[in-house]
Amino acid sequence: SAVISQKPSRDICQRGTSLTIQCQVDSQVTMMFWYRQQPGQSLTLIATANQGSEATYESGFVIDKFPISRPNLTFSTLTVSNMSPEDSSIYLCSVEPSGGPGELFFGEGSRLTVL
């Protein structure tokens, strides 16, 4: 299992600003995943963050908009840049501790509202 802490849990942001979300895991994991959940919607994978290499982004997501850092095996950050109201979402960090086909563990999410 894994315990994941995310900060901030929620924030209200102004249009055009950027916000960095932190994700801390209580154990070392190879891959960390960032998902977005828009209001009333399902989860969509933004990117996979591997330690020591650049993140791998899914179709529709780009590094300039969602830069990711992964400085070690227990920590990652996701920045939402130049925010617009369309970026209002819950951003979730997750890990797959088993390293194989298994369950994901999620943080509590960071609920961002962009005005």
Binding site: L43, T44, S94, V95, P101, F105
Partner: protein
Amino acid sequence: SQQGEEDPQALSIQEGENATMNCSYKTSINNLQWYRQNSGRGLVHLILIRSNEREKHSGRLRVTLDTSKKSSSLLITASRAADTASYFCATDSGAGGTSYGKLTFGQGTILTVHP
């Protein structure tokens, strides 16, 4: 395109009744997972069923998988008010037996259990 489609979108029942949620998907899978989300918070893994399994139980949960119909169902027996949440199916369709955490989530079913 969205892999998992769930129905119903919303389900309202009384405590003690059974709740059944269905999930359909489009491509071949390695496994299918069900998650619960309380009030827009983090997701909690409920159960995983592999593509070569047809039925799986965990406490009050029963999951079935029909790969010929590309569908799955989640049954919660003897529901409780605490089961009130959103339930998501997620599919692992990665090549080589796993997508290593890159799951595709369905739209979810909002379950309300009235005391």
